[in-house]
Symmetry: C2
Subunit: 115 residues, 2 copies
Amino acid sequence: MTQNISALIEADAGCPMVSFVNLIAGKWAIPILYRLILLNKPFRFSDLLRAVEPITQKELTRQLRQFEARGLVTRNVFAEVPPRVEYQITELGKSLRPTLDSLADWMRANAAVLK
Amino acid sequence: MTQNISALIEADAGCPMVSFVNLIAGKWAIPILYRLILLNKPFRFSDLLRAVEPITQKELTRQLRQFEARGLVTRNVFAEVPPRVEYQITELGKSLRPTLDSLADWMRANAAVLK
DNA sequence: CGGGATCCACCTTGATACTG
DNA sequence: CAGTATCAAGGTGGATCCCG
C-alpha cells in the first residue's frame, strides 16, 4: 500500500519537536542557554559576552531577548550608573536540563559513529 | 568574581549539544527523520516526497543524503525500470527515538507556557 | 555599560526546468 | 522515477557606528 503517511504522524509545523528545533536552533542558542543553566545564577550582559565569545553584541542581545520572550530567562535592569542588566535562567529553563543532558549523552555515545 | 565561564563548560563547537543541533536543524530534518523512525520500514523517494509535503525534491534529496552520510538512514538503489530507490532508518537512527520522545514530552508539557 | 541602527556577506531554501 | 542544474529570494549572523 502506498499510504498517506502524513495523516499518521505529528511531524509537521505543530509538532512539538519542530517547535523544539525552533527553540534551540541558531548558532549561539545552546552555548548561551547551557551556560545559564549550568551556572544557575544571574549574569551581567558583558560577562556573558565574554563567556560566549566570540559572539557579537547584536546576536547575544537577540538571543537573550528571544529566550526572555519564551520565558526561559529573566532580564533584570538596575537603575544605576553605570547601567547594569542581569540575566538569569528561569525554573522553566532549568527544567530543560535533564532533556538536554540525555540528548548530550546520546551524542557522546554515538559521536564516533556519526563522524 | 567575574569568572571565566567558558573554561568551565563545554558549550562550544565540540559540544555534543551543538552537534545535535547541527544534526536536526533545518526546516525539514525532523519531519523526515521522525517519519522514517516511526514507520520503521523502507520507503520510496516519491512516497516520502508526498508524505513530507510540501517539501521540494531538491530539499528532500539533500536531507536524505545528509542523514545517509551520518549513518541515520540507508539508501538502497534497485537496478530496475523504472528506477527505484528506497530509504530506511538505521538502528542508529532508531536509537534516537527515546531521546526525541522525551524532548517532545517536554515541549508538550510546557507548550502553554512557552507560547 | 548595554544596547540600538545600519549595512553587508553568506547560507539556506524555494521555484523551475531539465535528464538518465 | 529519482534525481541534478540553475537562478532567485529571504533569513542569519557579522562588522561597525552610534546613543543614553
